[in-house]
Every structure is written in structure tokens, then in C-alpha cells.
């Protein structure tokens, strides 16, 4: 189910502005890859190019190759809509659909696409996805209540359940814990540990302890300078990145000596 991502020579633009320059990396299946770096260095932008979500912003586009196993998702006949059902995404701010119940939120991917599903199939999918997101026990008695009534951490897990319910092979997470308290964060981190059994997970985080805790490999992004595009500085095993980084820039960032 999980797939490998191979990026080579990817440039990302907003109109004329080059936001991310020449990134090449390999993201291993069934593992967690963390992107770290200062604000505005292009790591979220780069993450969003991995499921072509980036193009939703007017004027934004990308040049280069992103291989999902063997398929170039930027190939000429590739439909971004189908790419996104293969590469799911969880956002910084939990965003359950306000008009839908918890139940409907979980199966939103199928429902919004009018996929036919029997009642029992839907029930099973909801239970499986909510169990997978460690949320089932907390919400099983109020599945038909609105999703916006949950706490922030629960909402975020609901969004993860919603993303996994469409059975993607890759899960992108854009700072999924930055608006959560430590306990909810811990719940999500535990969840990430479980999810990596089945998915390729890429997570953007500002919290370096979190990167160290959850990820197998870490990539460090930085700006070449003010107004310059962001670049991938270094990527490696998380242990090695946090103990013996190869580049001075990485070491400065990780140890808090900046610039």
C-alpha cells in the first residue's frame, strides 16, 4: 500500500517568484520523514507539491519530477484529482466539514465523490478509520453529532481518520500538532507511529523534539538569503541529523545558533 516518493530537480514557483529551488530527495515507504527549517523556507510549499495541492493557489506551479513509485505525478496525462486521492493530506488547522456529522466527515471522501457504498460497508469504514485514528472510543456514542463539537485534538484525529478513509498510500502532514496541547500532540505522535506500518508519512514540523521523536529520516530546508528561494540543505537518518549533521548550517539550526 505504501509507496516510495522520488523527487528530482523540483523547482516550485508562485507566478514569477521561485519559492523552492532544485530539490531532489527520496522518501522511503513505511517510514516517517520529517521536514524541518525556519518559517518561510519552503518546506510546506514543497510538501504541497507532493500531492499537487500547491496548484490550488492561483499562479503557482512546479517544474521537475515527482515519482510515486514509477508514476510521475507531474506527467502530462496525470489528473491532480486522482493524485490527491492517492496522496492524502492533514492540515495545520483541523478542518472538519462544519455541515457534516462525525460519521459523514469520516466518509466524506467517498460521499463527496458520490461513491456508492452500502450501509454496512460505510459503518465498517467509519469504525476502522476512527479506530485507526485512536478516536473510536471517544466518539462512538455520538457519531451523528457535528464534528465541530469535538476538541481541537479530537478534530485533528478526525481529520486524520478522514484522510485515511480514502485509503491513500502516502499521508502528508503539515504541522499537524502546532495548534494542539502536549497531550493531544502525544496522541497524534503515537498515531503517527502506528500509521507508518501502512503508509508513507511526511510531516512538516517546527518542533525539533517532535521531529526527533517521530521521524526515521529528517530533511532540513533553509533559505539561501532574504528574498532567495528555499533549498534542501541536508537529508539523512534522524539520529545522525540530530547528532552529527554534515553541514554547519544544519548544526546551527538544530542547536539553536541561528544564521
Amino acid at each position: 500500500m505504501a509507496k516510495r516518493i522520488d523527487v528530482s530537480g523540483l523547482h516550485v514557483y508562485y507566478g514569477d517568484f521561485l519559492a523552492v529551488e532544485d530539490v531532489s530527495m527520496t522518501i522511503e515507504p513505511r517510514s516517517v520523514t520529517a521536514f524541518i527549517g525556519s518559517s518561510g523556507c519552503g518546506k510546506s510549499t514543497f510538501l504541497r507539491t507532493l500531492n499537487r495541492m500547491h496548484e490550488v493557489t492561483p499562479g503557482a506551479y512546479a517544474r521537475g519530477k515527482v515519482l510515486l513509485d514509477d508514476l510521475d505525478i507531474y506527467g502530462p496525462d496525470v489528473d491532480p484529482v486522482l493524485v490527491r486521492s492517492e496522496v492524502g493530506m492533514v492540515f495545520q488547522k483541523a478542518n472538519p466539514f462544519p455541515t457534516m456529522s462525525i460519521y459523514d466527515n469520516v466518509i466524506a471522501g467517498a460521499k463527496l465523490n458520490n461513491r456508492r457504498m452500502s450501509r454496512s460497508e460505510a459503518d465498517d469504514l467509519v469504525e476502522e478509520s476512527l479506530r485507526g485514528a485512536n478516536l473510536w472510543e471517544e466518539v462512538k456514542d455520538r457519531l451523528h453529532k457535528p464534528g465541530s463539537g469535538l476538541s481541537g485534538g479530537q478534530q485533528q484525529r478526525l481529520c486524520i481518520a478522514r484522510a485515511t478513509a480514502v485509503k491513500p498510500s502516502v499521508l502528508l502532514m503539515d504541522e499537524p500538532c502546532s495548534a494542539l496541547d502536549p497531550i493531544s500532540t502525544l496522541a497524534i505522535e503515537d498515531l503517527i507511529h502506528q500509521l507508518k506500518e501502512d503508509y508513507t508519512i511526511v510531516i512538516v514540523t517546527h518542533n525539533m523534539q517532535q521531529a526527533a521523536r517521530v521521524s526515521d529520516r529528517t530533511a532540513f530546508f533553509n533559505l539561501a538569503g532574504p528574498g532567495k528561494p528555499g533549498r534542501l540543505i541536508e537529508m539523512g537518518e534522524t539520529n545522525q541529523m540530530f547528532t552529527r549533521p554534515e553541514k554547519k548550517e544544519t548544526e546551527n539550526y538544530i542547536t539553536g545558533r541561528f544564521g
Binding site: 484529482v81 455541515t99 460521499k111 465523490n113 458520490n114 457535528p146 478522514r162
Partner: protein, 360 residues
């Protein structure tokens, strides 16, 4: 007394606490003062036997403001006094603003009830001479509902879809051009919209074709820009997050719009549409030009013959000038207001059914 800064402040005293406290007027002060001002002013006016409601209200308000601000400045200090002054000012403006509204409603209710009954609502003016003590408004209700209904059916799809296009798809120059023309359309005087349809009908069907559909189209011309504008605002309120959440599930854009964006903003869209209907339901000038002003019988057919409507009915009755005509005009005005209120009530119900659920 400066030594206390080094030790923790006691539970009761200490300079920090004293500095945070402030003398204030008692809570009942404004109410009590207003009541006594009203009583005293009324007494004085009665003593001079020159009591008038408006004079009384003005003098009461003036004396209340002067006394409150002075007392507050003495006891509570400058900032609180300013606060009380501005508060009084805001309340005063509010009362001033709703006075005409209440007055209009009251006048319509009082005059309208003379003739407002089941008979009036259920018969037309067919075969009734203008001065006879008979006849009703049923044909005008029919006309108003049919014409406004058709106008709504035309302008809601066009308006909402234009708004969707502007918010979700249009970029750059074309967006500016459309927005500009929508703004221009908003400013079209209603009589011009009527003339436009008269000219259009002349070209299409030749002279002498006055019917409800023409009226509906002229109202639609007035309604579309209002619907576009309000729907645009409502669609913009839908957070980008929700659209992205939907895209991230592999949902195409058009389904995202129809299944996520529109339902999320449904309550606001309904309110906007209701406001647009309320804006056109009282239009008179374009309907006189397009749907005629002399229909007296019930006509459900939008495409054949003149059609009376409530505003035109009011206009033509007032023009006849007899006492019974005035009664009919007032009763029709009351009918119109009640119709609009009923529509608003319905819109609230619809809006509530669609509104995003946030209850825990």
C-alpha cells in the same frame, strides 16, 4: 507606603489594590435618574400646560445626559464620564433610527386594519367600481407572488452562479470587468429596468404586449446584482481550509463547490436572496410600465394579459383618491409588509436547517 512593593500585597489593602479601585456610581443610577428626569420634565411641562410627547422626550434625554455626565465626571473621573456620554449618544441615535420604522409600522397597522380581513384577502376587484365598498386584493397578491417568484427563479441561478464564478474561477481582468458591471447594474434606477423590458418586448412581440413575464424580467434585472453581491460575500466567508480539505480527499473542484462550499454558505445565501426579494417585492415603477396598472381580475398567467401587484395596487388606489380607496391602499400596504415578514420567517427556517451545526 512605598515599602509594600517588596512584600506580597495583603488580601484587603495595599497601594496596588487601592490604585485599581475606583469610586463608581451605583448600578441603579442610570435607570433611577432616567425615571426621575422623565417624571420631573413631565411635571414641569404639565405645570406650564404645554405637554407634548416629542418635547417631553427631548427634554428628558437632554437633562438625563447633562446630569449623568456631570455626576460621573465628579464621582468617577473623565474617562468614565466620556464613556457614559458616548453610551447615551449611541442609545439616542439608535432610538432616533428606529423611530421612523416604528412609526411607519404603526401607521400601516392602524390604517390597514380598517379593511384587512379574510374578505379583502380573498376577492379581486373584478366588477367592483372604485368607489364601491367592496373588492379586495387577491388578484394583486397573486400577481406579486407570480411576478416575484418568476423573477427569483430567473435571478437566483444566474446570481449565485455568477458569484461562484467570481469567487472560485475568475482571475484578473475578466473578474474586474464582471465586478464592475455588477456594480453598475446595482445602480440602475428601477424605472430604467422597466423601460428596458418595455423596449425589449416592443422588439420581440410588437406594441401592446403587457404581461407578468415582462414585469418579472424587469425585477430580475434589479435582483441579479443584489444576489451576486451578497452571494459573493457569503462564498468568500467559506474558509480556504475547507476547500483544501476537500481537494486533499481527491474530490474534484466542481464537487467541492456543490457539496462543500455551497452547503456551508447556504444559510448566508438564503438570507442574501431574501434581502434581494424584499428589495424588489415593493418595486412599483417597472411593474406599472411592464405588467400594467389596470388589471382587476385574478390572472395566474404570466404570459397573457395585465397583472396587478400589491405596490401597483396601492399606487392606483391612492391615485383614485376616495376614502374607500385609501382604506384599500393601507390594507394592501399591510398585506405587502406581512408578506415580506412571512418570507423572512421562511428564510430563517430554511437558513437554520442548512446552517453549519456547532452544538456540542
Amino acid at each position: 507606603m512605598s515599602t509594600t512593593t517588596t512584600q506580597p500585597p495583603g488580601p484587603e489593602t495595599g497601594p496596588t489594590e487601592a490604585a485599581l479601585r475606583h469610586a463608581s456610581l451605583p448600578r441603579y443610577f442610570p435607570t433611577a435618574l432616567l425615571a426621575s428626569c422623565a417624571a420631573v420634565v413631565a411635571g414641569v411641562l404639565l405645570a406650564f400646560s404645554s405637554f407634548g410627547a416629542i418635547l417631553w422626550a427631548l427634554l428628558t434625554a437632554a437633562s438625563y445626559v447633562v446630569i449623568t455626565v456631570t455626576a460621573s465626571a465628579r464621582v468617577e473621573g473623565g474617562r468614565k464620564a466620556t464613556d457614559r456620554f458616548v453610551t447615551s449618544l449611541v442609545y439616542g441615535c439608535f432610538l432616533l433610527a428606529i423611530a421612523p420604522l416604528v412609526s411607519v409600522l404603526w401607521t400601516v397597522l392602524r390604517n390597514g386594519f380598517d379593511r384587512f380581513d379574510g374578505y379583502f384577502l380573498s376577492v379581486s376587484m373584478n366588477g367592483v367600481l372604485p368607489s364601491m365598498d367592496a373588492g379586495g386584493v387577491y388578484h394583486a397578491i397573486v400577481g406579486t407572488l407570480a411576478i416575484t417568484g418568476m423573477a427569483t427563479l430567473i435571478s437566483v441561478p444566474i446570481g449565485v452562479m455568477t458569484a461562484v464564478y467570481l469567487v472560485e474561477y475568475a482571475r484578473g481582468r475578466i473578474k474586474r470587468v464582471i465586478t464592475f458591471f455588477v456594480d453598475v447594474m446595482t445602480g440602475i434606477p428601477s424605472i430604467v429596468a422597466g423601460l428596458f423590458v418595455v423596449a425589449l418586448w416592443m422588439v420581440l412581440f410588437g406594441p401592446g404586449h403587457t404581461n407578468g413575464a415582462a414585469g418579472a424580467i424587469s425585477l430580475a434585472v434589479l435582483m441579479i446584482p443584489v444576489v451576486v453581491r451578497s452571494s459573493e460575500e457569503m462564498l468568500r466567508l467559506v474558509p480556504r481550509d475547507l476547500r483544501e480539505a476537500s481537494y486533499a480527499l481527491g474530490v474534484p473542484r466542481w464537487r467541492t463547490i456543490t457539496r462543500v462550499v455551497l452547503p456551508t454558505s447556504a444559510a448566508g445565501l438564503t438570507t442574501g436572496i431574501m434581502l434581494a426579494i424584499a428589495r424588489v417585492i415593493g418595486e412599483t415603477a417597472p411593474l406599472i410600465l411592464t405588467a400594467g396598472s389596470s388589471a382587476v381580475s385574478i390572472n395566474w398567467n404570466l404570459f397573457d394579459g395585465q397583472m396587478m401587484s400589491l405596490p401597483v395596487f396601492i399606487y392606483s388606489q391612492v391615485r383614485m383618491g376616495g376614502a374607500v380607496n385609501y382604506e384599500r391602499a393601507w390594507a394592501a400596504a399591510l398585506t405587502l409588509i406581512l408578506t415580506v415578514m412571512l418570507l423572512f420567517f421562511l428564510a430563517r427556517m430554511i437558513g437554520r436547517a442548512f446552517a453549519p451545526k456547532s452544538a456540542r
